[in-house]
Point group: none
Amino acid sequence: MSTSTKTVPILTLDGARTAIAAAEARSKEIGVPMNIAIVDAYTHLVAFHRMEGAKITSINIAIDKAFTAAGHRAPTSVYKEMVWPGGPAFSIWNSNGGRFLTIAGGIPIMQDGVVVGAIGCSTGTPAQDEDCATKGVEAVEKSLKVKAKL
Amino acid sequence: MSTSTKTVPILTLDGARTAIAAAEARSKEIGVPMNIAIVDAYTHLVAFHRMEGAKITSINIAIDKAFTAAGHRAPTSVYKEMVWPGGPAFSIWNSNGGRFLTIAGGIPIMQDGVVVGAIGCSTGTPAQDEDCATKGVEAVEKSLKVKAKL
Amino acid sequence: MSTSTKTVPILTLDGARTAIAAAEARSKEIGVPMNIAIVDAYTHLVAFHRMEGAKITSINIAIDKAFTAAGHRAPTSVYKEMVWPGGPAFSIWNSNGGRFLTIAGGIPIMQDGVVVGAIGCSTGTPAQDEDCATKGVEAVEKSLKVKAKL
Amino acid sequence: MSTSTKTVPILTLDGARTAIAAAEARSKEIGVPMNIAIVDAYTHLVAFHRMEGAKITSINIAIDKAFTAAGHRAPTSVYKEMVWPGGPAFSIWNSNGGRFLTIAGGIPIMQDGVVVGAIGCSTGTPAQDEDCATKGVEAVEKSLKVKAKL
């Protein structure tokens, strides 16, 4: 086996559709329309849906939450204390051309412990955004496990 | 009736889904995977799908073709002679922070003569991109006429 | 097998080192120092070396040639006639935030017909840059085939 | 001797390789893969290596830590209290197009009290990043002293 390349798993458009559908369903349940962005493990956009009523300035926020969650392989909700004044990652939000978003609502999508993509939601409160994102992640991760069993 | 506000028709996520589905179907027919972006009449992203195999550097191109077609209310294929050296719109590609794309594949979506949104496709040749974009536009415009008849 | 994810081959740092070493060796043979950038299949930087005497303003050019070759899956030398005034891709250089470079010297690295990364060289003439980039590509592609045989 | 020019010491690609090798070795010891960037005294990239598993969104952070350490001639860990709300350098992170990073992990490389370049590491905690960067700096500074003795 060559060491010049490696093989990695990565989210597909099908997987993205599953995540979006679940996030949309949750968004309707809580009555807060969402911008929903899905990126692959390398931070590139796979799919995006803006529901009726979702905020215009949240389009970018949803996309960059997904970007950050995929690239840094962690939910965007983890940075709270780290980016406080005096925290070890204070000012990290300015990195990556200002795209590094430390607001809840971006979550990695995992397969067997590896990040294969991420979802970002935005329009509600960060807690509502994270709630919808979580449902999206759970749906696609469940689909991966179900398929693995067959 | 006040003249301080007006009512405008604008593409919805449902309309965007119809356009994307038709563009995807055409993309599969011709065997060229596409990035497909849908924006509203105000140039903001409504939906985006990257099909398996679509080019990474065409994500941005698809989005900016749709942006340009909606904002300037014309297919991106019309600029050819206008942007030649000496042409009246030479250098317009640099406007809007460099997002004004004068390559075929972006087409407005119309209702009763009014632009309600736009589609942008990218990965193939400009002719292939425009082919898929056209199918997307036709599908959503047809749905608008069917609804009008009911 | 799930359709929510797919498995893709991607260049490693080891592969990048092989490509850089070969490009550097060619650069010394022709007496033109180079900036040499290697990106993965998803356009992200894997490795970069600036040889003594390579141009400062070619650092960015080498990186963006590699970015373009990986993202659009074609050598950056192919655009010549397409981007001429009146050509179908005229103004494409402005896309992707101005990072789309249509100057020779960026070449995809392939494994079994799939792009796994790309190299970009810059400081010499475009022909010299492409010469060094070619040697880098050949070296890493050869390493992939040798390993495949074992 | 004219005062119209001066002679300055500056890090070479050889020096950069030494620093990267030592930072990589330390990274393996602590089990945290790193993005490692080396810039010269003028803040321009000399070399960059992304180890397997290093974060995608840390590519930019490693480069900008090195940029900041070389340009401001100080470790990026020194700003903590200065950039607090009310601190004398509050908002400096936004300068230089947002590239000024005040997170630990960027360290100048010195020769005889003069900054000749800098290293930036990123993927781990700021403390881990600084640990690896320190090892890189020590290795190249030691090589400079050894050479001076011969």
